[in-house]
Amino acid sequence: MTAATDLDAVQRVVGAALASLEASRHRIDDLNVYPVPDGDTGTNLTMTVRAVADAVEESSASDRRSLARDVARGALMGARGNSGVIFSQIVRGAADVLAETTNGVDPEIAARALRGATDAAYRAVRRPVEGTMLSVIRELAEEAESRTNHGTKLGDLLIELVRRGEEAVARTPEQLAVLREAGVVDAGGAGLLELVRGVASAVSGEPVPAAPPAEEHLSVEAIHQELSRYRYCTVFLIEGEGLDREQLEDRLEELGDSLLVVGDESALKVHVHTDDPGAALSLGTAVGTIDRIEIANMHEQTHQREERLLASVPEPDLDAEQAVTGIVAVVAGDGNRRLFESLAANGPIRIVEGGQTMNPSTADLLAALRTLETAEAILLPNNSNILLAAEQAALHFDRPVEVVPSDSIPAGLAAMVAFDGTLGAGDNAEEMRDAVEAVAVGEVTIASRDVQWNGVAIRKGEWLSLADGQPVAGGTSFEDVAGAVVDRLLAQPRDVLTLLKGADEQPLDGLLDRIATAHPSLEVDVQDGGQPHYPLLLSAE
């Protein structure tokens, strides 16, 4: 193929894609709730594709490779907004593949171009979000790859891609909660679909089923679900010359919140929550002409939404907000005490000082239980030596009480995460026991005598580590002994490793380095526990 036919073909395809997108531009603007609900995705994407069309128009490329470079560069330079940036990366990925081809584009090359586009698009973000342009382009690549061996014609393939794209776009609310809540599909994905639709009709020469009708009008305001301090959500466009975004932002900031001003010197889109929309509009008319003004009374919307919700939900039980169940926990260390207190959700907690060598009596525990004002109680002994006393105390307590047999501080913390004071003791105990069982606990301490224990030989005064009560390693190097128990805890895949530093705290840098290298995706949480006797306690969930 000659460079001239390439250029002609690309011009025709880009022109068709642009026309298709422009027809749906406002509909796509109105879909935009993610990443920021500023209602400009259709406009941004259109401006980006227009920049590509201009680049193709001006291109003097003499071969396919330089044409591909011009197209990718046009997309990069012209990218507007988040969707435009993603689109520019999609174009680059596809152009890189097409640059290396020599013949006409067949389904096999189209599939490779879409794969290149997908890889390039995913590569540029640390945490790809599904239910966006990313998942739509990926599904298009998968569809194309599944159809390369069937003697399909390119035009037919593109029509199948439109169909698959529609499915992928329709699925985006299932993948991204913010879309589901607002009752919309992803705007960027919808824009990408319109581009493919334009290309498909240009290549196949057949009319491709039209876009969803524009009458499904959804305004930006529809997505404002939380109460704002201000009454009116105000959105408008300012067109002018040499518009100063920052200056405008400063002035608008004085009027309200949720401020967003996006655009360039010639056009700015303003979104602000304010009690005085007139003042906001005046700021716009002072610097340019304003257009596409939308003002919505959010309090009215919120009110209507609440009415709807109340109609569908049974009357809330007013007593449910009050604590039913309180907790008594045996804890050693000031840091641990604070952790337990901070985790007591919706219910009171009483801490009884104690632990390995300082076992509170049954009377101590009973006295603590009696200070609770709740109808029911949970008792967390947090040590196997205290379990018996806890069960005795429960027997003597005259209100319903459940003992959750946590045998360590980390296990007790895991149980605390599951606690909810608005629920009864029985329900809580069930959840908390499950949490205790799900957590793997490690301890690092100093051996108090020479022992030979399950094949591990440890001398008095040396470090000793245990996993779920069983010895793992002994030795003179804290880091090695602690590292061995970490390895044991992480032998199964875990998401979070919590480290509680004891009163005799040891330097952890070396250990944390080891963990970060061996388990880069593990979340590690270090807390000052302050417990005696155990310089380090660990739990893995």
Binding site: P35, Q89, V125, V262
Partner: protein, 113 residues
């Protein structure tokens, strides 16, 4: 601090930094956070808030500085603008605190493979 008839609510800078970190890593173009000052790359939690500084104004407003690494070959101005909008929006939405400024510093560009 937010006041309500039932009492006041305080939101720590660390909590805000976590929101910023979670949000930034989902912003298109961001391939990592840049370490600033003493390298605190040891901890999962700290890795998330690495390269993020939160400032509090006397009036309760929040200023956010974040240092990011962006994929090579993207329109940096647009990527920065999206980060700025999205971080400001999410912090405002999730904390209710007024966000006075979001300063995005692109510390490096990286070519991922």
């Amino acid at each position: 601090m937010l006041s309500s008839p039932l009492g006041s609510i305080t939101i720590s800078s660390d909590a805000i930094a976590h929101i910023v970190g979670e949000t930034a890593l989902e912003c298109y173009g961001v391939v990592g956070m840049a370490a600033k000052g003493p390298v605190r790359r040891l901890l999962g939690r700290e890795r998330l808030t690495q390269g993020i500084q939160i400032g509090r104004n006397g009036d309760g407003g929040v200023t956010i500085d974040l240092h990011v690494v962006v994929e090579y070959g993207l329109n940096l101005a647009e990527v920065a603008s999206t980060i700025r909008n999205r971080v400001g929006y999410e912090v405002g939405r999730l904390t209710g605190l007024p966000v006075r400024a979001v300063e995005v510093h692109i510390e490096d560009v990286r070519r991922s493979e």
